[in-house]
């Protein structure tokens, strides 16, 4: 990603490169940090970077939704989960299991395969970013073409809400 940074000087490319590098470092932090709260904060950086990429891709509504739902709600849920499951007596640190090397090999293999296939398939395919996507276009698409999916998602959210309450309730 950063290799192509020097080749073109459009401000969008520069912004993409900086945000992408920050996101990659923060993502590595999420999976390697020894402190679980720090891992959650690194996840915040990744999610904020994703929101910034959405805005660079001119999907502004999605960027706002990303900030509201992920950084606003999901991270708070994670922090609550960390707070409620931390064992006060146990020593912190050992959050990795013993298959780290194997996991690294597997993910490197998959990344290599994906990178080869994607660059092979989409070489020279340019994004032509014109006008930002209108939120009304997304609304039209949701409530016209994908209204069934929307209803299914709303039922799923309700079921997940009830299920989470039933699971976590102390009785």
């Amino acid at each position: 990603m950063s290799l192509t940074l020097a080749a073109s000087s459009a401000p969008q490319n520069v912004a993409f490169g900086i945000i992408a590098v920050v996101m990659c470092v923060a993502a590595l932090g999420v999976v390697t940090m020894k402190n679980i709260v720090h891992a959650a904060l690194a996840l915040v950086m990744v999610l904020a970077g994703v929101a910034a990429q959405y805005i660079l891709l001119q999907a502004e509504f999605l960027g706002i939704v990303q900030v509201l739902i992920y950084i606003g709600a999901v991270i708070v849920l994670f922090l609550f989960g960390i707070m409620l499951t931390r064992h006060p007596m146990r020593k912190t640190g050992e959050y990795d299991n013993d298959q780290r090397i194997l996991a690294g090999l597997v993910s490197l293999l998959i990344f290599g395969l994906l990178a080869y296939l994607l660059t092979d398939q989409f070489r020279g395919d340019k994004l032509h970013l014109g006008q930002p996507t209108q939120t009304s276009a997304i609304a039209d698409s949701i409530f016209r073409t994908y209204v069934v999916g929307f209803e299914v998602v709303s039922m799923l959210l309700l079921a997940a809400l009830v299920g989470a309450i039933v699971l976590a309730r102390r009785d």
């Binding site: 992408a20 999420v30 690294g104 990344f111 989409f122 996507t133 998602v153 959210l157």
Partner: protein, 99 residues
Amino acid sequence: MPITEYLLLSAFLFCTGIYGVLARRNGVLVLMSIELMLNAVNINLVAFSARLNDAAGQVFALFVIAIAAAEVGVGLAIVLLIYRNRVGVNLDEIDLMKG
């Protein structure tokens, strides 16, 4: 700008998530890694939405965000339940169903 940059970024995030799911043993950290993978998919969807000039990709990204929120809620409830019934949330100690 080339679409491959976005695709490679997304592939990197996805593979980092795979590593996290495989190498972490804390339940909350595994859920965080799953979030990384879901976000990688969302970047792909939005990039192709911009490439094809079609809002459908963004609609699917919204669906993925909603389902990820539901997944985190239920997942953390399950982790809490495991924590309460057993000693910790280390996933390699949860082997009741191992034969």
